[in-house]
Symmetry: C2
Subunit: 726 residues, 2 copies
């Protein structure tokens, strides 16, 4: 799919709706923060000197663990990750199902990730009197660790190739039937694999269908908040410095995995290194890049550039304006909307960067040239031509079919027209009632048996829901729905009736009792009958028009998704036939390992040094948001070693979803935590530009220094140091 915003059907659809900050992979593109100071002035084309070949160059690549190019790393850096090393890193890496990455850093289940990946949890455990986002959080004892009500953590334990099984299921079928058979086979394979709530299984589509693999995870649903610094230092510099570098952000948080009410004991983890990095040092990043579009066709990229990105940006810009004003209305409104505003600003900036990359004619020409070369080589071979020659035109046709459907699909089915947590819950309940009685393989994918644990966690989350914010975002999105489809569109008329968006949103939010977890549980347990009998206004609202929304989805799946899947697979096979398999697949929010080195870059007229120090934060502070240091920092300043490395730039190839990933050295020690990419890295969605693409981490020495001298987190330090000295 060229359009990553069209989330349903991808199996990641839950993320789409969250108005809160589960930092969905949708909104995390390049998540966190970097310094090419003027986003709108970026150019990449000139730097993309050689893009004619698709093979990975320099430190490019988000490699799968079962296909990691150790020999290549050996040749370049003199270190070859062994199978044991790879296993340790994989098992010590954690995926946050909501859209981030993390790592196990102690034998007692301590997990290191970004503050912005835990932001939503920190907000959820706060209330009007305890604002842990603003003030930070430290559990002095394990008893004080606070459950994150909506967080799921996954540990990848096995990978199995199931390409042949999927192939057998779809063989000889036409687009639509093949698309349905593929999904059914996936649900079947996942169900066989997921033997219990403690397991999560996903069939992953790699190379756009060139390969299918079954990923088996241990699933943890009891994560607790251990430590978070104050938001103003976690996101120091705010939106202006986001994606910029030099940077001074303490963007990390610590969670702990619990199992059966006790901290999880693990044998495999990666200790946090107290040592500073050296320039040029080899480093790895293990994490879950959410999605890239490096191997999709030019027709899909054109759609992205001309239709999808601009429209999505306009939606986000307006939402951002709304939230910015909402923030000014009271301290409490500011508190409950900060995570959402961050998410909107972050995705806005990331999408602007992607749009500018695609609008850069030299950059786009580089991409076009790659496709032309592959097509030419396919067409030059009669056998390949017969098999794959038509795939690109078929995709162009599918995108042309998508064009008039796009607004309806994204608004009605992908959720942009109903931007509300309560709505999302209501739709889950209504559809669960309809779907769960069906055989597993015939259900919508997000209701397959293997996905029920995640679904239940969402439904039963105790995370607070704020009426004011719900009404504001729902009224806004209903207005956008009406704007996109027209006031006289039959679906819009059915949804709005004679109400204005705001009147309707107020009535639905105020009238619904779905904010009570018990009410949701009753409806879910009661199944379809309970849903049909419900008088909850939101349930009735969804029930009244959900068949229309399903019809929109079906049209999308048949006319767009099916040919894209079919022909994406053909192009992948064509690629393998022409160039072989020595490359990495587009990111899919699954475990990947990238390698690179500590390195700055050249920007216009000057060199950017690859790291900053704690002292730099004091120099940059103005005393006013977003450049205001917390009081704890000002107090601790005399005691701090101001030369401690703070944020560090490396050449690793990452993208949104990698937030929270451990930065790892040869000894498999965690030397930093990824939280951002630089502005030029935003083009990384489409191509890796080695000269300027950089990822940005919080360096581990800054974590030790802050925990010790600013936050007085003695027990935590002991736990982290015990890991180091094991």
């Amino acid at each position: 799919m060229g359009s990553r915003d069209a989330g349903w059907g991808s199996g990641r659809s839950f993320f789409v709706f969250l108005p809160g900050l589960y930092l969905s992979w949708l909104d995390l593109a390049g998540c966190g923060g970097m310094m090419m100071k003027r986003l709108w002035q970026l150019t990449w084309g000139m730097l993309l000197s050689v893009l004619v070949s698709w093979s990975a160059r320099a430190d490019e690549g988000m490699w799968t663990f079962n296909d990691f190019p150790s020999a290549k790393v050996q040749a370049q850096y003199g270190f070859s990750p062994s199978p044991e090393w790879l296993d340790q890193v994989r098992l010590s890496s954690i995926r946050l199902a909501g859209g981030c990455s993390a790592s196990l850093v102690s034998p007692d289940g301590l997990v290191l990730t970004n503050h912005h990946c835990a932001h939503h949890c920190i907000e959820q455990v706060s209330d009007a009197r305890h604002d842990y986002v603003a003030k930070g959080f430290l559990a002095k004892t394990r008893g004080e660790e606070r459950p994150c009500p909506a967080m799921e953590l996954n540990q990848l334990v096995a990978i199995t190739d199931v390409t042949a099984r999927i192939g057998a299921a779809t063989q000889g079928l036409a687009d639509r039937a093949s698309n349905e058979a593929r999904k059914a086979a996936m649900s079947r394979i996942e169900k066989e694999c997921a033997d219990g709530d403690g397991v999560r299984c996903e069939v992953v589509t790699l190379y756009h269908g060139g390969r299918y693999e079954l990923y088996r995870y241990r699933r943890f649903q009891d994560a607790r908040l251990v430590f978070a610094p104050e938001f103003p230092i976690a996101f120091f510099g705010g939106d202006p410095d986001n994606f910029n570098f030099p940077r001074y952000d303490l963007d990390f948080a610590l969670l702990r995995i619990y199992q059966d009410g006790k901290p999880l004991r693990v044998q495999t983890f990666m200790p946090l290194s107290p040592d500073p990095l050296r320039e040029g040092e080899l480093v790895f990043v293990s994490g879950n890049p959410g999605g890239t579009n490096r191997r999709i066709s030019v027709a899909q990229l054109e759609f992205e550039r001309d239709v999808n990105l601009p429209r999505r940006l306009l939606y986000t810009a307006e939402l951002r304006g709304l939230l910015g004003q909402f923030q000014t209305e009271s301290a409490e409104r500011k508190r409950i909307s900060t995570a959402l505003l961050f998410s909107a600003e972050n995705s806005y900036k990331a999408r602007v960067g992607r749009l500018l990359a695609l609008q850069d004619s030299a950059f786009f020409a580089g991409i076009t040239t790659k496709e032309k070369e592959l097509r030419a080589r396919v067409n030059a071979d009669p056998k390949l031509r017969a098999l794959y020659g038509a795939a690109w035109d078929e995709i162009a046709k599918a995108m042309a079919a998508f064009r008039p459907l796009r607004d309806r699909y994204t608004m009605v089915e992908a959720g942009l027209g109903f931007n509300s947590e309560l709505f999302r819950l209501a739709r889950l309940l209504v559809r669960a009632g309809d779907e769960l009685p069906k055989p597993n393989e015939q259900r919508l994918r997000e209701f397959s048996d293997a996905r029920l644990p995640a679904l239940k966690q969402q439904l039963y989350s105790k995370a607070p829901i704020y009426d004011d914010l719900e009404i504001a975002t729902l009224a806004f999105s209903l207005t956008k729905l009406r704007e996109a489809l027209g006031a006289d569109d039959p679906f819009v008329v059915k949804v709005l009736g004679k109400s204005s968006p705001r009147t309707l949103a107020t009535r639905l939010v105020k009238g619904s009792w779905l904010r009570a977890m018990n009410a949701r549980q009753r409806l879910f347990d009661g199944g379809q009958a309970a849903v049909l009998a419900s008088t909850d206004p939101l349930i009735r609202f969804v029930r009244d028009w959900d068949p229309d929304a399903r019809a929109v989805r079906k049209v999308y799946e048949d006319r767009v998704e099916a040919p894209l899947n079919r022909n994406g697979e053909l192009i992948a096979k064509a690629y393998f036939a022409v160039y072989g398999t020595g490359t990495y697949p587009d990111a899919t929010f699954t475990a990947r390992l990238s390698y690179g080195q500590v390195m700055g870059w050249r920007e216009a007229d000057h060199e950017i040094f690859p790291w900053t120090t704690l002292g730099g934060a004091f120099d940059r502070a103005t005393g006013e948001d977003p450049f205001k240091l917390p009081a704890t920092w000002l107090q601790a300043k005399p005691a701090l070693d101001l030369s401690t490395p703070f944020n560090v730039a490396t050449t690793n190839d990452i993208i949104g979803g990698n937030s929270g990933s451990p930065l790892i050295d040869r000894q498999a020690r965690v030397v930093g935590v990824i939280f951002d990419g630089n502005l030029p890295s935003l083009a990384g969605d489409y191509a890796f530009v080695p000269a300027v693409n950089r990822s940005i981490s919080v360096a581990s020495p800054a974590i030790f220094e802050a925990l010790a001298k600013i936050y007085g987190a003695k027990a935590l330090l002991e736990e982290l140091r015990a890991g180091t000295n094991k």
Copy 2:
């Protein structure tokens, strides 16, 4: 200029800053409202079958009064407007200097325009206890008519060709020197002409420099509000129905011109016709289309499509989100922000329409083909080639130079970074202090002697200024300034210092006493010395960095404006040389006359009938905003003739700035008042598509019916009828 958002230097710069709704021509593109229900789905290219010639076809054309194609109208419609007829229409037409059109409809200076053209005045004469926007306004006697504090009206009394004088002043000069000499000559000619405050003179650049004409106006600065209906019926259907048709908007208001404290007596006016129009009937529109881009180069249009429109749309979208939330905060906040929100929504929708037109590949190809043909014919003739052959490439170079300057120019100098009424006043005062001591011809154009009356009216306006709204829009725009240029940009650092945008905006707005008219008068009268001595924080703020802003303007004028002017003139001359002069110039917010007929259009699968009736409004009403009829309408319904024509579609070629224009019949009677174009007309900025481009008016019978049976405006009706029966 391809970029109409780059207002300074165009002589229309005042409009750019107004956060209120002087419905600037900048924001009026297609202003008012129509029914092609789904904006995002429009296509024009297929309908633009023959665009290869630049000559006007069908009812296309915004013709100057001194070059009106009467013979063509005679041939097509059997009626030839005589010189006397044209004089009557021109003298009965009124330009609202803030960005609209109007007409004299009684011998006592009664002026008919749109509600949305008077909206700002209606808001200004309201207060927290008297909301005439919401409730409507009717002066029962002339004594009750309320002064509009910031409105200037112009009546065009003479047109003189000054092409030769401008040509002599610039002859033999290079781009930059020529650009400056041209402006100096314009200021000189205008000053000679403007012999008193009652006169306004403007040198108008037609055909992008192919011709220069001196327009001499009578200037009126005392307009008073006579009648306005309730906003909910003036803008019935709100943003969803804006630019749609069928439509049901009573979008008119009545003003009266006063001179020396008494109603202006005129001999020439156009009576309001009580008769309904017939399908196919010939109608004219006399008004001031603000700007079109039908004769600019492809390089300029590409810039508009790829850079300027998308960025401007993102800015507007975010401002719209802010204002939408601001509206919900209190009744008073809603009252003071309604005009501004309307303006934002209107310009947003219009710009989306323009962007979609330019993104339509067939449409854009049509435009490209025209340019190619002209260039080919120029290149085929060695003499023409030597004179004009390089002009297009020179313009492309100027646009390439503009690209990295655009954000800085629009933010710093064109006002998008300082969106505040108080700021605008402060800058006017600071610059007036610097400019007025200079000789007239050396001043920035907006401070030339001929423009001082308009400038003084702005400075001395008693229109209220609302701190809350000022802070919100100023903080927003400062944030956008920082975002566009980067937090570390030296100019940004100079502007913000260590403050956040909101802290700074609050301090400036709360601390400034410029909201008091007396304070402004003192500073203006005191000149540069008073400005330099002022301790007003806003004055000091502007003073501190205005030299930097002027430098940005100078770079823009030298590197972009100068070559655009020079080469635009060359292309115009090339056009005349190849095709002759039988065409109309791009719109310039000056008097134009268009002809056309009452006609619907075909849309996808059905015909749109060319008019609606009063009864239709009752059918469309839902009781909820924006489809809620005023109580006066519901009460009056039994008495109304529901078959009265309400809104009417005609083929006249109009664009933003035409709002309020009279729709005129052969007898020079006003048969309607233009308030909108349909969605397909939004492409009219670039090309007229005869099959679907329609303008929309309030039909005169609806005005009579409403005044008589809904508003009981007896005296007004008598005055209007006396004109009809003269």
